[in-house]
Amino acid sequence: MAIEILMPALSPTMEEGTLAKWMVKEGDKVASGDILAEIETDKATMEFEAVDEGIIGKILIEAGTEGVKVNTAIAVMVEEGEDVPDDSAQAEKSAEKEEKAESAPAKTPAAAKPAAPVADVTPDWADDVEVKATTVREALRDAMAEEMRRDDNVFLMGEEVAEYQGAYKISQGLLDEFGAKRVIDTPITEHGFAGIATGAAFGGLKPIVEFMTFNFAMQAIDHIINSAAKTLYMSGGQMGAPMVFRGPNGAAARVGAQHSQDYTAWYMQIPGLKVVAPYSAADAKGLLKTAIRDPNPVIFLENEIMYGKSFDVPVMDDFTIPFGKAKIEREGTDVTIVSFSIGMTYALKAAEILAEEGISAEVINLRSIRPMDTETILASVRKTNRCVTVEEGWPQGSVGGYISNVIMQQAFDYLDAPVINCTGKDVPMPYAANLEKHALLTADEVVEACKSVTYR
């Protein structure tokens, strides 16, 4: 049977090319792998090899022809003793193919995004549950210990997590209880161990990866995003990475630019990741237990300054907090302050100062950044008509910038003032005490922003 040899696409973007030179002539016998022609693309001259064996029956496009469209028949190959079919049939067939190839990729995706969930205001625990003062540090440790008791496939890996008991003592006591098989000290090699942990998650385990700080996760970010976050999608749902990447994020104190950065907005952007940033010890415990059980990669952003702070944590056998549920930490009517993690300390302090001046601020603790509980934010803004966001990260491409966008699109008519984003200053973190203080957020800046949006 005669086979048409078509003008090949020789790069991802090639639509046409020049048939520079024929290396065969009519009547030549060719085998698979023989060079048929030289073809010039926009980038290079390529050799074009035969796939099938046969005889060159007819050359349809002469050497030197420019602008030959991909998939145009350039020659006809026949078997021994076979006649070349007439030209008109060939031309018709190749035109049909060309049309088919062009129409294929022209579809546009339909936006079929599911509707956002309705605001959920149920409390994290019932009023009659006993509570115990617990530090964030202890709450994180308790969450890991409880989940490791519950599921043998959960293990902790990171620098100094075992024998040293954690660089910030988060994993205190875990080596004693669970042994070296499940509490694993790694060399200082973030890129490598993040990749190994992701592979272990593909293999059916549930790793918790501790980064000594999230600054060092920059070394590992390829595995977090390209390997952990995208594999479920790329595999058509066959396999993914059920795991937690956790550690302190944001500025500590006097450690300079390379150790003081808030990565919340970076990770927030990635489909396939879930991102949480607890404020209180109860948040830390309830969210970390949920993170460990979640079948997806979770970025769990802690804050070093918060580790030693004490909060009430419910005394329950199994206390968890669902993702995507913000908490109204303080009710108010005049302005909505939205924050997360250590930003909550500025937000709550500002609300206290504002209350003394007769301004009633509602303070929302986001907790979960992706998925984000925008319903709770929108419901509050529809009530107060004003919003201030508070975070330590930089202003351009911030979490607050995203929240402002959501409010503008979904509650524009309710706004009585532009949303203000209180952020860290747009500079690398300086070392000098006075400069560092000015680079960071203060409660006073939040107070000023709230006064500005309430026109006081």
Binding site: A44, G199, G203, M239, P271
Partner: protein, 336 residues
């Protein structure tokens, strides 16, 4: 480098030789067809063909047992065929169709099969190396005796994460076989232009990892080396490195004109070292098969590949709803 055409071993059965022949031929014919479909615009983006390297995966798969895992780079079609994944599903993934292994959402470089323990298909050079060690970590953690074949190229061998992984794999005695498929060129840069220590497997010595160089054009040599590596790992002795010297006949990807080497160099390799021809010679000279027998196999393989190509054209494009699926899991996918 071992001799180019070792004498046929008396203990290799006709059945085994025919098996290797058939599997290598399937890869070659499949890749030729993929190149053809790419030329027709049915396959898009990057497409990295495995032609010339067939003996590597066929030899190592012959040394593997059920439940062993494998992970590789973006030049992955041969690995998938060799571990038994359906050619139809592979080709349909190349054409971006619903019937592809990733429902059309992964493409040539990102394909997976939980059933066949094939963990991708990874597009970032070298990233599959710690992932492979992690898979081996999961088997050691579970206490079974499975091993993971972790394939990477001579180009990836210069990535830092490879050595971070060597260090931990040896430290923790992980049952991982690092297979360096050294085809001589990292895209257009030859090995000697990228390093002054061109014996790549010997770098493992810095971490105490055992290894060897293997003639990657000889499927029997590859299989034997693979068996040594597997035995080492299954015995709990930790990782093993195989630097398999191979050669790719085609460009780095479909859009590579391959001007960094001479046509003669490629032709010489094809004429003198071709892995399929070597086995063909052994079959014929050893009177294990006749010309007719081999022609029948050729015909059979051609039919399989044509069927895959037809399927890949006929399978519909994924439904637009697929855009929004598989971003988040609702439950943890269970091990096959």
């Amino acid at each position: 480098m071992p001799p180019k055409k070792p004498a046929p071993k008396s203990n290799v059965s006709a059945e085994e030789l025919l098996g290797h022949y058939r599997e290598m031929l399937l890869i070659r014919r499949f890749e030729e067809k993929a190149g053809q479909l790419y030329g027709m615009g049915l396959i898009g983006g990057f497409c990295h063909l495995y032609i010339g390297q067939e003996a590597v995966v066929v030899g190592l798969e012959a040394a593997a047992s059920e439940g062993d895992k494998r992970v590789t780079s973006y030049r992955d079609h041969g690995h998938m065929l060799a571990c038994g994944m359906d050619p139809k599903g592979i080709m349909a993934e190349l054409t971006g169709r619903e019937g592809g292994f990733s429902k059309g959402k992964g493409g040539s470089m990102h394909m997976f099969s939980k059933e066949k323990h094939f963990y991708g298909g990874h597009g970032i050079v070298g990233a599959q190396v710690p992932l492979g060690a992690g898979l081996a970590f999961s088997d050691k953690y579970k206490g079974n005796d499975r091993v993971t074949f972790t394939y990477f190229g001579d180009g990836a061998a210069n990535q830092g994460q490879v050595y971070e992984t060597y260090n931990m794999a040896q430290l923790w005695d992980l049952p991982v076989i690092f297979v360096i498929e050294n085809n001589g060129y990292a895209m257009g840069t030859s090995v000697v232009r990228s390093t002054k220590s061109p014996s790549l497997w010997e770098r493992g010595a810095a971490y105490g990892i055992a290894g060897e160089e293997v003639d990657g054009m000889n499927v029997l040599a590859v299989k034997e080396a693979g068996e040594r590596a597997v035995a080492h790992c299954r015995a709990g002795k930790g990782p093993y490195i195989l630097e398999v010297k191979t050669y790719r006949y085609r460009g780095h990807s479909m859009s590579d004109p391959a001007k960094y080497r001479t046509r003669d160099e490629v032709q010489k390799m094809r004429d003198e070292r071709d892995p399929i021809e070597q086995i063909r010679d052994m079959l014929l000279t050893g009177k294990h098969a006749t010309d007719e027998d081999l022609k029948a196999i050729d015909k059979e393989i051609k039919a399989v590949v044509n069927e895959a190509a037809e399927f890949s054209k006929e399978s519909p494009e994924p439904h637009l709803d697929e855009l929004w699926t598989d971003i988040y899991a609702t439950e943890i996918p269970q091990e096959a």
